[in-house]
Every structure is written in structure tokens, then in C-alpha cells.
């Protein structure tokens, strides 16, 4: 493994690769700065740019951008109380009070160094765990893959943000989309309406670009122009040895927690930052200081969300299961480059995988170096109006969709999903669940059928094999828990209300 890793490092030192990494970090920063660009969108927009690259450069670029966007959300969170990425929501709690106290530079410094440390610890976890997990998964065959896909699908419970029925409809809708086209096992055409376009199936990328990028542009265009933000002059101090000593414990704990949460599929960096914040409060000797500008209150969520973002790449590389919107897009990018993430990728393309790993290590270092000059530039970029960026984003989306297989049909599919995504977003529908279904649908169906071929139609194959039995049991537990949770919460709420009525307080 060390040999592979040093090979990976050698790959990065090559000038073109190094420039790509640097560009990726800067682009990732921009994602946090330009209005209306989220991490998912940035990766989506840059997909077409990677078509012309070799696979190694392409994935270095995409994963590095992914790493940098998770970081860049903290800048606006601390300075303007507007988290640039959903992962940075928790950072607002203590970051903004510090800015109000005139300590914005200190807050940014803590955020940046915690992010970089968390990201590095997460990457180390990624490097250590992925080969082990992939090795283990190499022994999998059809029933295990089916079980794995089902386990991946149960992630819907956490992705649907409390709207389980909608989330389930979303997943099923995604599964349905993935079943359009030629049946892989028998060659039968499904829902093709005798059209050549439909019979080759709906590609993943148009669906993703439509649901995430186009719908977001439509959404923004229907709103009033974004508010003007005044830019404060900030002097950032990245390393403060006294402060660092104070937050070392928090950093270590949160990074560890973040990495582990990230590895579990579907829980994601936002949850990680939330959980580690509450853990930091629990462990603190002065919990009352949280929310008023405690350094630990920035260190905990920032180290955790970066660690979790890296950890989320473990199931992606080792098992081919995406844990979040952005990792789903990266998975789509792999498939487009003709690579299938999963256990075999580690053996067939180990050079690529280790180059990506080494790249992520370097990216986290670069964050430390680049963030200071960038925050200066940042103030200029916030003034770029959306009406200038919007058209360019749309054209990137169109080219990106078209270039997959030179088909205008895909572009119209993308626009359709853009409209659909916009409308569904309005009713609060969890869009990521659809992607989950589209990504895991083909695996789930064909492995299910292949497994039954293996056993001659005997369903016992799924629970007679230990690994698939364990995975399916976990999936079952997740599903049951997801159904019980809202009932339990309602119960709790009712109990609380009754209690409040008794003591005569307002609910």
C-alpha cells in the first residue's frame, strides 16, 4: 500500500497534475464565493471539462473540488451568517457571534486550520480503510451485491429529511427511470415506445444535471435578486499556538467522529458537523459559552464536516455506493469514463485510486496555503451578479449533457428533469432520493435476478449466505427504525404537550 501511495504522490508531482490540483482548489473556493453555486453544482458543471482529460486527471480534479467546496462554505458562514454549503450551517452558531465581536479573522483562522486538519485525518482514514473494505468486498457475488444495493437504498431514510413517504416515492421513481431501456439480462425493450432514444435508456448524468443544476437556476431566477452583502476587511490569522492547544482535544474527537460518520453511507457531512457540535458541547467544561463565539464551536463542526466528506469517499471507492449528492455525481463521472467504482476498481486501477488519495492529502495542505490570499479576492467575487454567471452555467450544463454521447435527446431529458426538479423542490421533495434510485437501480435489479439464476429461483440464497444475510438484516433494521422514529417522536411531542398543559405553560 505504501508503495502505491508513493507512486500516487509521484503522479501528483507531475506538473500538469499539480496545476490541475491547484486549479481545483481555487475553483472549489469559488464555489463557496459565487452566489448560487453549491458543491454538487460545481462538480456537475465541471463534468464536461473532464471529458477530454485522462481518467487520473479527471478524478483528481473532481475529488479535489469536492474537498475544497466542503471547506469554502465556512467563509460566508462566519462573515455573513450565510453558510455557503449545507455542511457549514453549524459553523454559523459560533462563527458569526465571533465576527460580531470583531474577531472575524480569528474565527476564520480556526475554521481554516480545523478544516484542513479534519480533512487530512479523514483522508488518512480513506487511505487505510478503502483497500481493506474493497478486499473484503472482492469475495462478494450476486446475492451480496444485491444486499449491498438494498442497504444503500435504505439510506433514503436519512436523505428524505423527515418526509419518508416522499423519499420512498423518490427512490422508486429513480428505480423506475433506471429500468427504462434495454433489459440487461434478456435484451427486452422496456418502456421504449419504439424509439431508439428511449431504448438505450436514460443516462444518469442528464438526470443529475437537470435535477440539481437546472432546477437550481430556475429556482434562483424566480426569486428576487440576492441581497447586497457588505464586505468587511478581515485580517486572517491561521495559526495561533495558544488557541490550537485549547482546541486540540475537540479537533481530534470531531475529526474521528466525522470520519466514522462519513463512512456510513448516506449520513453525510451535515449530520457529522451537527453531531460533533453537540458532542463538543457535551465534553466542554464551559458549555454555556457555546453559541456566543466559542473557538471549539467552530473547530468541532469544521473538522468533522471535512473529515466526513473524505470518509464518504470510502464506500464510493470500495463498494460503489454513493453516500451523498456530490458523491453520486462523482460516481456518475466514473461510469462515464468507463470505470465502475467498486471492489475491483482498487485492483484494476490502483494507480488512479492512489493518485486521487494522494491528491486529496495535498489539497488539504493547499487549503491552508491558499485560503489567506483567497479571502482577499473573495470580497471582489461576491459582487458578480447572477445574471452573468447564470447563462454560462446553463451552457456548461448543455455541453456537459450533449458530450456524453453526442445526443440532443439527452439535452431535452436534462431540461425535463430540470423542470421536474424545480417543481418538486417547491413542494419540498427530497431530490437526492431520485438519484439514489437511478444509481442503485441497475445494480439492485440485475444482481437480484442473477442471484436467483445462481440458486435456480430459490430465495434462500439471500439469507443462507452470511454476508448477504448480515447486510440485509442491517437494511431491515434501518427501514424499521425509519418507520418507528416518527411515531416515537410524535409520542414524545404529545407527552410534552400534555405536560405543558398540566403546568399551564404555552406549548
Amino acid at each position: 500500500m505504501w508503495e502505491n501511495l508513493s507512486n500516487g504522490l509521484m503522479t501528483i508531482i507531475e506538473p500538469t497534475h499539480f496545476i490541475i490540483l491547484m486549479a481545483a482548489v481555487i475553483i472549489g473556493f469559488l464555489g463557496g464565493a459565487l452566489p448560487g453555486l453549491s458543491g454538487v453544482m460545481l462538480v456537475v458543471i465541471l463534468l464536461p471539462v473532464t471529458y477530454g482529460m485522462d481518467a487520473t486527471s479527471a478524478f483528481m480534479l473532481l475529488t479535489a473540488i469536492y474537498g475544497a467546496t466542503v471547506f469554502s462554505g465556512l467563509i460566508t458562514a462566519i462573515l455573513y451568517r450565510a453558510p455557503g454549503t449545507p455542511e457549514a450551517v453549524t459553523t454559523v452558531f459560533d462563527g458569526y457571534p465571533m465576527t460580531q465581536k470583531g474577531e472575524a479573522g480569528k474565527a476564520l483562522g480556526i475554521g481554516i486550520s480545523s478544516s484542513a486538519i479534519g480533512g487530512m485525518i479523514g483522508t488518512i482514514f480513506l487511505i487505510l480503510l478503502t483497500p481493506t473494505l474493497a478486499n473484503f468486498a472482492l469475495r462478494f457475488s450476486a446475492p451480496e451485491y444485491f444486499a449491498l444495493a438494498i442497504l444503500g437504498l435504505t439510506v433514503v431514510a436519512s436523505l428524505s429529511r423527515g418526509k419518508l413517504t416522499l423519499g420512498l416515492i423518490g427512490v422508486l421513481f429513480g428505480l423506475f427511470i433506471s429500468s427504462i431501456g434495454t433489459d440487461p439480462l434478456t435484451g427486452a425493450h422496456r418502456f421504449s415506445f419504439n424509439s431508439a432514444n428511449f431504448s438505450s435508456g436514460i443516462e444518469l448524468v442528464p438526470v443529475i444535471i437537470g435535477l440539481f443544476a437546472i432546477s437550481e437556476i430556475l429556482n434562483r431566477s424566480s426569486k428576487k435578486e440576492n441581497m447586497e452583502q457588505k464586505v468587511t476587511k478581515v485580517k486572517t490569522k491561521i495559526f495561533d499556538s495558544n488557541l490550537m492547544k485549547k482546541i486540540t482535544g475537540t479537533l481530534a474527537r470531531s475529526s474521528l467522529l466525522g470520519s466514522i460518520i462519513g463512512i456510513l453511507p448516506g449520513i453525510g457531512a451535515s449530520t457529522a458537523s451537527m453531531l460533533s457540535y453537540s458532542e463538543a458541547v457535551r465534553w466542554s467544561k464551559t458549555p454555556e459559552k457555546f453559541g456566543t463565539g466559542a473557538p471549539e464551536g467552530i473547530a468541532a463542526p469544521e473538522s468533522a464536516n471535512n473529515a466526513a466528506a473524505m470518509g464518504a469517499l470510502v464506500p464510493l471507492f470500495a463498494l460503489g455506493i454513493p453516500g451523498s449528492g456530490t458523491t453520486a455525481v462523482i460516481l456518475g463521472a466514473f461510469i462515464m469514463h468507463g470505470l465502475q467504482p467498486g471492489p475491483s476498481l482498487m485492483t484494476t486501477e490502483s494507480d488512479l485510486v492512489y493518485a486521487v488519495f494522494a491528491g486529496l492529502l495535498i489539497v488539504n495542505l493547499m487549503i491552508l496555503i491558499f485560503s489567506k490570499p483567497f479571502i482577499f479576492l473573495f470580497s471582489k467575487l461576491l459582487n458578480v451578479p447572477y445574471s452573468v454567471i447564470g447563462p454560462l452555467i446553463i451552457i456548461f450544463c448543455i455541453i456537459g449533457t450533449f458530450a456524453i454521447r453526442n445526443s440532443m435527446f439527452d439535452v431535452y431529458v436534462m431540461l425535463f428533469f430540470g423542470l421536474l426538479g424545480y417543481l418538486l423542490e417547491k413542494v419540498g421533495f427530497p431530490l437526492v432520493t431520485i438519484i439514489l434510485g437511478v444509481v442503485l437501480g441497475p445494480i439492485a435489479e440485475s444482481e437480484f435476478r442473477r442471484a436467483l439464476e445462481m440458486s435456480n429461483g430459490d430465495f434462500s440464497i439471500f439469507y443462507a449466505r452470511p454476508i448477504s444475510a448480515i447486510l440485509l438484516t442491517f437494511a431491515g433494521i434501518f427501514i424499521i427504525f425509519a418507520f418507528i422514529k416518527p411515531i416515537m417522536q410524535r409520542h414524545k411531542k404529545r407527552g410534552k404537550l400534555e405536560y405543558q398543559e398540566k403546568i399551564g405553560g404555552k406549548p
Binding site: L172, G418, L419, V427, E453
Partner: protein, 161 residues
């Protein structure tokens, strides 16, 4: 919310006959035929959508009975809606205009070729999105088209539509 549930039900019902037309498991050599999977998916969608419809209707009824007792609040929300309607129709439908612009752009690409269509599109699109200064529109258009063309065609060799 009701519209969403109804549309989902219609969607599932629309595809159901197509799913039933597919070859069943007994008609093909594989043990599970191409019909099984999509059929079950559609049935599940149908069940969930109906469940969702019933749930939201019940919740609405409960909310309404709670709201009836509070007439003041009801009047206020009515007033707010009127205020929103006064906003220009352009602002209200800007997203649909934008979508229409994109569709027209895609058609234009086939008719005029990529570069001229893109030129027109960026200009129109930035105006739709609210760029007022004419000079900025021009700069965005020229620089934007040039950048995209250079980036994809020369640097990356990606086929343009």
C-alpha cells in the same frame, strides 16, 4: 401537495399497462423476467402515492378545523396573496421564460450552429435574469461565448452540439 399525489398516481397508472405488456417470467428463459421489477416498482409507487394523498387530505382537514376558529389569521393570509399578485407577471414567470429560452436555444443550435446560437442565448439569457446595463450584456456575451468556444473546442477537444 394534493396535485403532487394525484400526478404521481396518474404517472404510475399511465405506465402500468406498458409494464403489464412486458414478457412475464414464465415467457423467457431467465427465472425473473423483465416484467417483474418495473411492475413491482410501479405498484409500490401507486400504493405510496395513494397513502400520501390520504395522509395530506386528513392533515388538511385537521388544520382547517383548527383554522376556522381563528378567522383573523385567515384574512391576513388572504391579503398577503393579493399583494404577491401585484408583482409583475415577468417576475412571477421568469423561470418559465428562462426554460423556454433554453429550449429555443437548443433548437437554434441545430438551425444556426453552435456559435451564433450561443451568442444570442447569452445575451437574451442575461437580460432575462435581470442584467440591465447594455454594456455589461455585450461584455458578458462576447467574453462568455469566446471563453466557452476556446475552452471546449481548442483546449479540451470536446464535441460541441
Amino acid at each position: 401537495m394534493r396535485v403532487f399525489s394525484v400526478l404521481t398516481i396518474i404517472f404510475a397508472l399511465f405506465f402500468l399497462p406498458f409494464a403489464l405488456e412486458l414478457e412475464s417470467s414464465s415467457e423467457v428463459s431467465t427465472i425473473i423476467g423483465p416484467r417483474t421489477w418495473p411492475l413491482y416498482i410501479l405498484i409500490f409507487i401507486l400504493v405510496l402515492a395513494v397513502y400520501h394523498l390520504i395522509k395530506t387530505e386528513l392533515e388538511k382537514k385537521r388544520d382547517q378545523s383548527a383554522e376556522d376558529s381563528n378567522v383573523d389569521e385567515y384574512g391576513e393570509s388572504d391579503h398577503k396573496q393579493l399583494g404577491e399578485e401585484e408583482k409583475g407577471w415577468f417576475e412571477n414567470y421568469r423561470h418559465f421564460i428562462l426554460l423556454a429560452t433554453i429550449v429555443i436555444y437548443c433548437i437554434l443550435i441545430n438551425l444556426l450552429g453552435f456559435l451564433p446560437a450561443t451568442f444570442i442565448f447569452i445575451a437574451v439569457c442575461s437580460i432575462v435574469l435581470g442584467l440591465k446595463n447594455k454594456l455589461y450584456v455585450l461584455i458578458t456575451t462576447v467574453v462568455g461565448s469566446f471563453m466557452i468556444f476556446m475552452l471546449f473546442d481548442y483546449v479540451l477537444n470536446i464535441p460541441l452540439p
